[in-house]
């Protein structure tokens, strides 16, 4: 019932859409999974902080009636990280929650993905994607079992 991007608006630029998909996988991953993915890449250029990893807030918004004017629904904790690789590539992460380690690894993966390591990054993220897709599908099957199938009783004399 759910798509991989979980309802996120796909960008029209396929390059950006692919980058968003990597970011979505990282938000759904655990820190241990991402750590393992990073290890799986072998030797990578060292990364330094472009800006210190920090916890903050994003004000989430809804729309009146679901499709009208925007209103402020409430905030969410968000952690952001920005890194620069030795070769000059930069990577960013903005994720719900307060996990600084996870955000920093995600930013490194984002930076690596933008260069020659793209295929390798996609490869090490595959098991995480598969895990998320599997859990999402199982949840959808459980929910689907609660769908009401109406039947109408025919009555009367004919």
């Amino acid at each position: 019932m759910r798509q991989e991007t979980n309802g996120a608006k796909p960008a029209t630029d396929p390059e950006i859409a692919a980058r968003q998909a990597v970011m979505a996988t990282c938000t759904g991953a655990t820190t241990a999974e991402l750590d393992h993915a990073l290890q799986g890449l072998g030797d990578i250029p060292p990364a330094s902080d472009l800006r210190g990893t920090e916890n903050g807030l994003v004000m989430l918004r809804g729309r009146m009636g679901g499709d009208g004017r925007a209103f402020n629904l409430g905030e969410a904790t968000v952690t952001r990280a920005a890194v620069r690789l030795e070769d000059g590539r930069t990577g960013f992460a903005y994720q719900l929650g307060r996990d600084s380690a996870k955000a920093r690894i995600s930013a490194i993966l984002d930076a690596l993905w933008q260069g020659q390591e793209r295929a390798a990054v996609e490869r090490v993220l595959t098991p995480i994607r598969d895990r998320i897709t599997g859990e999402t599908a199982a949840k959808a099957r459980r929910v689907a079992a609660t769908r009401v199938n109406f039947f109408t009783m025919v009555r009367g004399e004919d």
């Binding site: 608006k9 004000m59 679901g66 409430g74 929910v143």
Partner: protein, 364 residues
């Protein structure tokens, strides 16, 4: 008036030590982990996130542990925590039409695209205490059926297409009011009202919504739709210029369809009340949508005759942290005020006694 009172420091320290001791309870019982609260008391966590106005399940769970299950205290802790963090910016408005549905019901249409999906609900349970839970019996695996992705359009979109319900216009040029940044002024626009209701006390809004049903500002509501599930939160950072998926957030949305309004320019059509709440919180979303519609009196030229229609009354009193602050401030030392009142009542009593004496003497 308060007066500085010194000398309580040791008693306060010891009281907090005692609080920590009582919070832990007997050591023969295992300590409760925030993870257990987050996953097994999920609806309490949802309420703390909604009224704390901060989406962070792990933080809300910890706040519930710290507050010993006092949810308003936990909400207070969460509100205090948010003041310590910088705000990176505003997210993109969430698209509830693209929600990964976990529950979706309509009381207005039986058959509708996407179907009626009950999800994890207390509805139709018999409300009998289940002693098997105390025995720690594992539940059977839930049923599963194969499913294809199916779009689940909002019920209001179906009515909207035929002009039978008022249309919402997504005007993104209008500034979005934020009551955490500027004090609430009256009259307040609907964006500010919805923000206040989304973080408002569930019990207060439930009672107000109930009052509209009992005739105090009737709005003749039908549940067009209630849906619960996850949507992707998105944020456009300046340095990137495209929407970054932040992660999925659980939301409950209620579309209340209410009786008609028309004018010289518009034929009669249904009007709308809207509820959107963090987490799985159907009661709150329904109450919010009833009160949202009741508060739209100005727009529809209706008379304000009931409390639920009075925005100053509703918005000034729906925040349980504010309400707690003012009610509980009565606990603070009011020794000087009270001494003054004591002096006053003694003076009045002596005057009264003197008058009674005079009357008695006059009668004799």
């Amino acid at each position: 008036m308060y007066v500085a009172v010194k000398g309580g420091e040791e008693a306060i320290d010891n009281a907090h030590g005692l609080l920590a001791h009582e919070r832990r309870g007997p050591v023969s019982v295992p300590d409760l982990s925030p993870d257990q609260i987050e996953t097994q008391l999920a609806l309490a966590v949802d309420r703390v996130m909604a009224e704390g106005s901060l989406y962070d399940p792990a933080l809300a769970a910890l706040a519930i542990k710290q507050s010993r299950g006092d949810l308003i205290e936990a909400i207070f802790l969460v509100r205090a925590f948010r003041t310590t963090l910088p705000r990176f910016g505003n997210g993109e408005p969430v698209d509830t039409g693209a929600m990964a549905i976990e529950r979706r019901i309509s009381a207005t249409f039986k058959d509708l695209p996407g179907g009626q999906v009950l999800g994890p609900t207390f509805d139709y349970t018999h409300r009998l205490i289940d002693f098997m839970l105390a025995a720690g019996v594992a539940p059977p695996a839930p049923a599963e059926v194969e499913t294809d992705f199916e779009a689940t359009p909002r019920v209001t979109d179906l009515l909207d297409g035929q002009g039978l319900i008022e249309a919402e216009l997504p005007d993104d040029t209008a500034e979005v009011g934020d009551l955490t940044r500027a004090p609430l002024d009256f009259p307040a626009d609907r964006d500010l009202r919805l923000q206040a209701l989304a973080r408002g006390d569930e019990g207060f809004l439930l009672a107000l919504g109930y009052s509209t049903q009992r005739g105090y500002g009737r709005t003749h509501p039908f549940v067009g739709e209630i849906r619960f599930g996850e949507v992707m939160a998105e944020f456009v950072p300046e340095e990137l210029g495209f929407a970054v998926p932040l992660g999925p957030v659980s939301l409950t949305e209620c579309q209340m369809v209410n009786q008609f309004h028309g004018s010289a320019e518009l034929p009669p059509q249904f009007t709308r009340g809207y509820g959107l709440v963090f987490g799985q919180s159907e009661r709150k979303a329904m109450a919010m949508s009833l009160v949202d519609r009741a508060l739209r009196t100005r727009e529809f030229g209706e008379d304000v005759t009931a409390p639920a229609q009075d925005e100053e009354f509703v918005l000034s009193h729906c925040d349980n942290v504010q309400a707690t602050g003012f009610v509980e401030h009565l606990k603070l030392p009011h020794y000087v005020d009270f001494q003054a009142e004591l002096g006053l009542v003694r003076k009045m009593r002596s005057e009264y006694a003197a008058r009674q004496q005079e009357l008695k003497e006059a009668a004799e």
